[in-house]
């Protein structure tokens, strides 16, 4: 990983929202690196803060949201220190984004051509005519049939899959360095999902973009990503390359998540869910946020929040089991899998 140029480096990002019931920290310590030309998946349950993370990167938070802390280094420059005008030059140009809801993400009163052209006219100094021509090319690029006709359509005249293709065309208009895809396939039919994933992957290879792929679907991650950051309750809890993560997940949460997926390589009578619920952002556990649900949680886990530690391979994990301070057994059973703890666990284990 170190050999690759890091195009985006998010460090300890913290974002909160003011609500009627007080301040809610939706993102609390998110860090990850995106190497150039690679895809990173950000995985987590609903409410884990993954969408807020992506909106924070582009600084597109709703008016009650503020970024409290952290750095978002794009090509070495901290985006959080950029002026609003500088950010606007970046958005849709160098970093662009596609959203979860293709049905509502396009403006109903403008044609798709007008909407794609807008970014081109804005960032590439194209004339209306040039932009219109380029819009047709982009629609063709994302696999929309008879693009010269579609370009004059209004969003309501297109299906969900087509609209998402339009969104992708729009986000690619200015050849961005980074594409943030926020659950781009969640609202689509399964067959369309596969097509859209294929399209994003294909375009990434052709255009050499780096992609941040936000999803709750580990299957999608396995298919599309090079690296994965697992998020839980506003924090990155595990970061690894995709092979390592699927082959040997370390974090109890990740293991539980993978165990809850159906698999076709082994016999399964039933799927094993993770017990309990994501903690409420108003009432976060003091220690490790997963501790209340973790089968291996100890007093240490409940009392103190673990730090995100980087191992020799550059993978990161936020868990006491793999720290020197671990106070549980050295062989930890996590959802039927065994992990060897680091540290002095041997002293306290094996009472028999």
């Amino acid at each position: 990983m170190s050999a690759n140029e890091i195009i985006l480096d998010v460090k300890d990002l913290q974002t909160s929202f003011k609500t009627d019931t007080g301040e809610v920290r939706a993102v609390d310590g998110v860090s990850f690196q995106l190497p150039k030309g690679k895809t990173i998946g950000i995985v987590g349950e609903s409410g884990s803060g993954k969408s807020i993370t992506s909106l924070s990167i582009l600084r597109l938070l709703a008016s009650n949201g503020t970024i409290k802390n952290g750095e978002v280094l794009y090509k070495g420059q901290d985006l959080l220190k950029f002026s609003e005008a500088q950010m606007r030059k970046l958005r849709g140009n160098e970093i662009s984004m596609i959203f979860q809801e293709p049905m509502t993400s396009l403006n109903p009163v403008y044609t798709v051509g007008q909407q794609i052209s807008e970014a081109l006219i804005l960032h590439q100094n194209m004339s209306k005519k040039e932009a219109a021509v380029r819009s047709v090319e982009l629609l063709k690029l994302v696999g929309i049939p008879s693009p010269d006709k579609r370009v004059k359509n209004y969003p309501f005249e297109l299906s969900g899959g087509m609209r998402q293709r339009v969104m992708i065309a729009m986000s690619l208009a200015c050849n961005p360095e980074i594409l943030i895809a926020d659950e781009p396939t969640t609202a689509l039919d399964v067959t369309i999902q596969a097509q859209i994933l294929e399209l994003i992957k294909d375009l990434q290879e052709r255009l050499g973009m780096s992609v941040i792929f936000i999803t709750h679907d580990l299957g999608v991650v396995a298919e599309t990503c090079d690296y994965v950051a697992v998020m839980y309750a506003g924090q990155v809890v595990e970061y690894a390359d995709v092979r390592t993560l699927f082959k040997e997940p370390k974090l109890p949460y990740t293991i539980g998540l993978l165990n809850s997926l159906p698999r076709h390589d082994i016999e399964q009578d039933k799927l094993e869910p993770i017990q309990g619920n994501v903690p409420s952002p108003h009432n976060m556990p003091v220690g490790c946020r997963f501790a209340p649900r973790c089968p291996a949680a100890t007093d240490l886990c409940r009392a103190k929040m673990p730090k995100l530690e980087t191992d020799e391979n550059g993978n990161q994990i936020r868990c006491w089991i793999y720290s020197e301070e671990w106070d549980g057994e050295s062989e930890v059973n996590l959802y039927g899998e065994t992990r060897i703890a680091k540290g002095r666990g041997t002293k306290t284990v094996l009472p028999d």
């Binding site: 582009l58 597109l60 950010m87 606007r88 030059k89 970046l90 958005r91 849709g92 140009n93 662009s96 984004m97 959203f99 809801e101 509502t104 993400s105 396009l106 403006n107 109903p108 009163v109 403008y110 807008e118 970014a119 804005l122 960032h123 209004y154 309501f156 969104m167 729009m170 986000s171």
Partner: protein, 315 residues
Amino acid sequence: MTKFIIRRLLQTIPVLLGVTILVFSLMHLVPGDPAQIVAGEGASEQTVENIRERLGLNESIPVQYGTFLGNALQGDLGSSIRSGRPVMEEIGARFWVTVELAFYATLVAVFLGLIAGIVSAVRHYTLADTSIMIAALFGLSMPNFWFGLLLIQWFAIGNWMPESLEFLKMRPSGWGDSWRQIILPVLTLGTGGAAIIARMTRSSMLEVIGQDYIRTARAKGVSERIVTYRHALKNALIPVVTVVGLEFGGFLGGAVLTETIFAINGMGRLTIDAIRTRDFPIVQGTVLVISVIFVLVNLIVDISYRLLNKRIDMN
């Protein structure tokens, strides 16, 4: 589009028929014998009989309605009982005065209302928003006649704009002798409408600003100004257009008080005077004309609605 307009025009026919029935019934719904009422107390039997004959009241009701409708279709609404002049002529003399007043009042309402609504929405929950909304509440709750009197008190009596009281004499010679003549009546009529439009624009804008496609526009790198005016406003205007249309129609019919206060010889005054003197043909005529305009304004609203929102095509 032409098909839509034709279909929509056809739909107005039953509405207008209903209006003519109501207008026609006016004369018969008033308690007592219309001819007697018109003739006044103490009129001789012969006079009443003559009036009955002239108004065609001896025929059966359906026949009377048929005649009324037939004449109305040819632009003949009978003659004023008081002046003896044709109703259309009486209305024609006053019509443009009211239309002009309503037109300018609508302009004021749209201009003030849109600006206030947009500012309020863009800066929602700030001091500007609160002040605008309080002002709008005033504009909404203040009765026209009172606000009109206040304006006269403040501006006309203090000799700032005495011409405002001269409106009548200058009309209906044509457009715009001086803005000073029309500004006060227009403001009186327009502020209430401005308040409604401001509130409507604000809530509509706020709703639109929370939509996903606004976030998409921001993610494209579009400036806030363009987000507001190009992406949000066009969507937010759709419900506002309806209100503006209704306002204009309402101004035409509801200018009665304003016209009375400023002594403007418009249709409102005409109606009031006609009601007072039981000049039935005039009352029927003005109500019919105002209704027809209302229906037409609604038609225009529907058409502009479609121009703004292409999705209505599908229905």
